[in-house]
């Protein structure tokens, strides 16, 4: 039997990816923005303590917040056509996973969008290294968790 690699088809994946790229590209063309999502969480803390970010990061605070607002709105537009999104994943996994991913992304200076999209598109070796590491670690983690029944 042939293994089904794409049981849900590929078109929504591909078109979604192309639209993501278009968003990244337009922000770059319009205003030079190289936009990853995870920096948002660091710049938000600068409202509490200015020393939280270096100067460059602080200068990007406003547009990073607009980027995040845009991203939330994008999800909202999708909901208007397709209905609300939901998940069955337990709350503690979301919270703990968010914490570990947030810490890791800020240590590595980027996440799936910062390294995965912007970094690879900037032909950065550091981003290729980051993507390979987090993909391999995530594959192992997910399958080990499933094996032990979490």
């Amino acid at each position: 039997m042939v293994v089904e690699l794409f049981p849900l088809g590929i078109w929504h994946y591909l078109i979604g990816g192309l639209i993501i790229g278009l968003g990244m590209g337009i922000a770059y063309l319009m205003s030079g923005i190289v936009a990853g999502a995870s920096s948002l969480f660091t710049v938000l803390w600068s409202f509490v303590d200015k020393k939280f970010c270096n100067k460059d990061m602080l200068a990007s605070r406003d547009w990073r917040i607009y980027l995040a607002i845009g991203t939330v709105l994008g999800g909202f537009v999708f909901m208007l056509f397709s209905g609300a999104s939901s998940t069955q994943i337990e709350w503690w996994r979301l919270l703990l996973g968010g914490f570990i991913a947030g810490l890791g992304a800020r240590m590595a200076n980027g996440c799936t969008s910062g390294h995965g999209i912007c970094g690879l598109s900037s032909l950065q070796l550091s981003s290729l290294i980051s993507v390979v590491i987090f993909l391999v670690v995530a594959l192992i983690t997910a399958n080990v968790l499933r094996m032990v029944g979490v």
């Binding site: 770059y28 995870s38 590595a108």
Partner: protein, 131 residues
């Protein structure tokens, strides 16, 4: 115009993340279980388009449409990159959510994404002690 560019870019980013299923943790997990490899098309499609912009636009113009320098993504290769990326992989596999989809998912009415966002905010705070 920087705000408008970020807003439009973010809007398309969010729509693309939602349309491709990235905002559904179960889709991410089915990829990590190697049951549905569709996410490779999301990453591939996004990188091909972004790559075209990043590589072509600076050859055609000196500055962005609103007169800003083009940004660059430069991160040094060190222990922080390796260890941070590995941690990110663990967290991503645990929740099935990365930062962009946490935002887009919340916008799409999945309020459970609030747990992820609170976790990520806390993680970004704790990162301060590892500098």
């Amino acid at each position: 115009m920087k705000a408008l560019a970020a807003l439009i870019g973010g809007l398309l980013f969010g729509i693309g993340l939602a349309l491709s299923g990235m905002i559904v943790p179960e889709v991410i997990l089915s990829f990590l279980y190697l049951e549905d490899l569709g996410l490779l098309f999301v990453l591939g499609g996004a990188v091909v388009v972004t790559l075209l912009f990043y590589q072509l636009v600076p050859r055609l113009r000196k500055k962005s449409l609103d007169g800003h320098e083009f940004g660059t993504k430069r991160v040094s290769i060190d222990k922080r990159l390796v260890f941070g990326s590995a941690l990110f992989g663990v967290g991503w596999a645990l929740s099935g959510v990365c930062p962009g989809p946490a935002l887009a998912g919340l916008g799409a009415g999945n309020f459970a994404m609030g747990f992820v966002l609170v976790g990520m905010l806390a993680g970004a705070y704790v990162e301060k002690f590892f500098r």
